[in-house]
């Protein structure tokens, strides 16, 4: 029996997460993920107007803003047989892509970087050497004066005794491997990225009214017809260009520079047996071509065709009344009404355990990059091959904490690069006199539909059943449910739990290494916790494109 360590709260994430690990011989021997909050949004949707659903589900998460709303309108549009106008497709793509740009930048700098970057050590850096380092690695080299200013600012901050968000961090931990100059460079970019992200979010406001929780989607299209003009497109384009420049010149170089000091993490934090991708970003009106291809991978094998009939959910180890594991549409789940006991030998989480063909697939950037690579997507293949070569690591290093963090950066580039085409498509539609943003439709008495989506944290699906023009049933299966789910009835662990096993731990009192892997999945716990209460055995066939 090893030593048990509990980390609660896990910070620099969305939501309330507890991680428990058992440590033996300085390595993680076993791990448990626990979602600590339950709200129950699906329960609220019953009996409501299907047109309203997207506003409710958008509030699943303010970090993953927009993405649930998008899946939701798609589900209703699928149920009601609505084909949205081309401009609506493009604007939705642009807002979705902007979400990826913003979300991944904030994740890297503000949620994940402090696992690798020792802010306090930056005080020891030589600003002249830091300027040299930035000249070598950064696409936006800065002067020694600039780094001196940043360092002075940090010194003032530390000597004030008011460390605020940096108080009680694991500074000086033996697992920090960056030289002081790299720490200072990253600290400077942490501050730059704070400014940049506020600007990047303005892309949402241009066509979406505001961010977080843009308010422009409706079943049938988008409402921002008055913003469909050359000036607004230009405004969006300028912010996109500035964001893209930051990604190309700062984010990716930082990612590569930091990764080069942590190559050993190319062999830690993998251990997953499968990867699942729904795909997204329709490139044409019929949605037959997606920028991100869908697929399923059993580790070591090729990409299989997606078959959503193979999804089941298991609640054996979650705080719901027990039921047989079944497809989301065939199961019945109810939260325990009363006090819930945390017991790693029994029930220990509000998150359910979704499975695909009995396996616990990882979802998210790594899964998407692997599927695109496996399907021979030239852009993904080139980027991945170049990255591996630059770091001097083999392809096995992809299946790791380092690979996951790198994949997030690479897809930021792929998606960001695609945005220019969509802006041009919008311009050419306007030039043709096509300003259509909405398709009229009528609510059927009875209907069913689903909307699939791949979002910053992974595969997301919403299913709806309509009766008498009202929501009879609504459910969604969310990326962080896939990644952070508990064990199932057979004792098979969820992806994050599996990834943590084998992680080296230098100091059990300061489990920095655990945070690295947990954060590499970019947890969103408010999204992950769900209740599904369907009364139907209907199973949907998913169109695989």
């Amino acid at each position: 029996m090893g030593k048990r360590i509990m980390i609660d709260p896990i910070t620099r994430i969305e939501g309330h997460l507890r991680i428990e690990v058992e440590i033996e011989n300085n390595r993680v021997k076993d791990a448990w993920c626990s979602g600590q909050m339950f709200r129950g949004i699906e329960m609220m949707l019953k009996g409501r107007d299907p047109r309203d659903a997207h506003h409710f589900v958008q509030r699943s998460c303010g970090v993953c803003t927009y993405v649930h709303a998008l899946s939701s309108v798609r589900a209703v549009e699928d149920a009601c047989n609505i084909a949205i106008p081309d401009n609506a497709r493009i604007i939705r793509n642009l807002i979705h892509a902007a979400q990826f740009q913003h979300d991944h930048i904030v994740h890297f700098y503000h949620l994940h970087a402090l696992d690798w970057v020792d802010i306090v050590d930056a005080l020891k850096a030589d600003p002249v050497k830091t300027a040299k380092l930035s000249a070598n690695v950064s696409g936006r080299p800065e002067s020694s004066e600039y780094f001196k200013t940043i360092q002075d600012k940090l010194k003032t901050f530390v000597s004030s005794g008011q460390l605020g968000p940096f108080n009680n961090g694991y500074w000086g931990h033996s697992a920090y491997a960056l030289p002081a100059e790299a720490n200072l460079m990253a600290a400077a970019h942490y501050i730059e990225a704070l400014k940049l992200q506020a600007k990047a979010a303005r892309m949402h406001a241009v066509f979406g009214g505001k961010n977080p929780h843009p308010q422009f989607l409706v079943v049938g299209g988008v409402t921002s017809v008055r913003d469909l003009n050359i000036d607004r497109i230009k405004e969006f384009e300028d912010i996109w260009k500035e964001t893209k420049a930051f990604v190309d010149e700062v984010y990716i170089p930082d990612l590569m520079a930091i990764a080069s000091f942590y190559k050993n993490w190319g062999a830690i934090g993998g251990n997953n047996e499968a990867f699942l991708v729904y795909g997204d970003f329709a490139e044409n009106s019929s949605e037959s071509r997606l920028l991100m291809p869908p697929g399923f991978i059993r580790k070591g094998l090729g990409v299989e065709k997606l078959d959503v009939e193979l999804i089941t959910e298991d609640v054996t180890r979650a705080w719901y009344e027990n039921s047989t594991p079944s497809h989301p549409y065939a199961g019945k789940t109810e939260p325990i009404k009363g006090e819930v006991a945390y017991n790693t030998d029994d029930k220990y989480s509000w998150i359910k355990a979704p499975r695909y063909d009995g396996l616990a697939p990882e979802v998210g950037p790594l899964a998407r990059i692997l599927v695109a690579y496996g399907k021979g997507d030239a852009t993904a293949k080139n980027l991945v091959d170049q990255t591996l070569k630059k770091l001097g690591v083999g392809s096995d290093a992809l299946f790791s904490t380092l690979g996951r963090t790198a994949a997030r950066g690479l897809e930021t580039v792929i998606i960001g690069d695609a945005m220019g085409n969509w802006l041009n498509e919008l311009r050419s539609n306007i030039a043709k006199g096509d300003k259509k943003t909405y398709q009229s439709w009528t609510m059927p008495d009875k209907a069913k539909g689903f909307g699939l989506n791949d979002v910053p944290r992974g595969a997301l699906g919403h299913w709806i059943e309509i009766e008498d023009g009202k929501i009879k049933n609504y459910q969604y299966v969310v990326p962080s449910t896939w990644n952070f789910g508990p064990a199932d009835a057979h004792g098979n662990k969820g992806p994050v739990e599996r990834s943590l096993i084998g992680t080296p731990i230098a100091d059990p009192k300061k489990p920095l290494e655990v945070l690295r892997t947990v954060h590499s999945y970019d947890p969103c716990l408010a999204c992950a916790v769900h209740v599904i209460d369907p009364h139907t055995n209907e199973i949907y066939k998913v169109r695989v494109v």
Binding site: R12, G40, F216
Partner: protein, 314 residues
Amino acid sequence: MKETEEKSFYERLEGKGVSRRDFLKYCTVMTASMGLSASCVGQVASSIEKAASGTRPSVVWLHFGECTGCSEAFLRTPNVGAIILETISVEYHETIMAASGHQAEKSLEQAIKTHKGKFICVVEGSIATAYNGAYGKVGGRTFLEIANDVIPKAAVTIALGTCAAYGGIPSAAPNPGGYKGVKDAIGVATINISGCPPNPLNLLSTIVKYLNKETIELDELGRPLFAYAETVHDRCPRLKHFENDEFVEEFGSKEAELGYCLYHMGCKGPETYNNCPTAKFNDGTSFPIQAGHPCIGCSEPDFWDTMTPFYEEY
């Protein structure tokens, strides 16, 4: 501000990468959001300067039944870095703090001990009260326990967002977790910056006024009058169309393209108190009605139940 002080302040701002013009623009927007006249811009600027010198005021930020949208909204403040690193001291904030687990708990303990009776407590999210608060925990303690422990020790509590103010989405029917706003859950007075999410300018304006020891007048729902005295409808750029009986009857129509009134599409602007049309979001970029979407009433208590269906005329 004396001329030399002013000079050094702007020099420091330049060092932060903020030009004098940027800063004054920011203060102008903030002044407008507070409902103050343009002549008060200088006052606002000097209060920010005062807050930025000497010991930074401590803020403890609690996350309960929330989606983190309010934190995200706060992060959208232009140059938020200067606020969180140089203007206030964010002692505890789970989204951005480096420490986790025991070390995070230690940060919270230190903050409430060191700054007892002096810190500003910002609460995001509502509090689960059913089954003794079983549906929401941090570090093994229920939201309810944490709220009862921390909030009474604060100098002032700001309920940020409709969830913290009135219960918000977790409390929408059937409210399985028994979620309530801070005031209803633990019986303390709060300043309510409602909205889903609220405009960060309204939060910052409130903090600036508080630090300036100004009286913050509240409406009967606990919202600062400088931001919530008028309805969205009162200040709506489409008001003329309402008065002229010019309405959008379908999205994507000619009338929608002309920017007609969205009242028939379910706009809740006439019942919703907030300054969205004047403060706007994301550095003045837009707000929902400008994007052609009806207001959903997100700063009103129980809007998820009382303002729905969203697309039906009220």
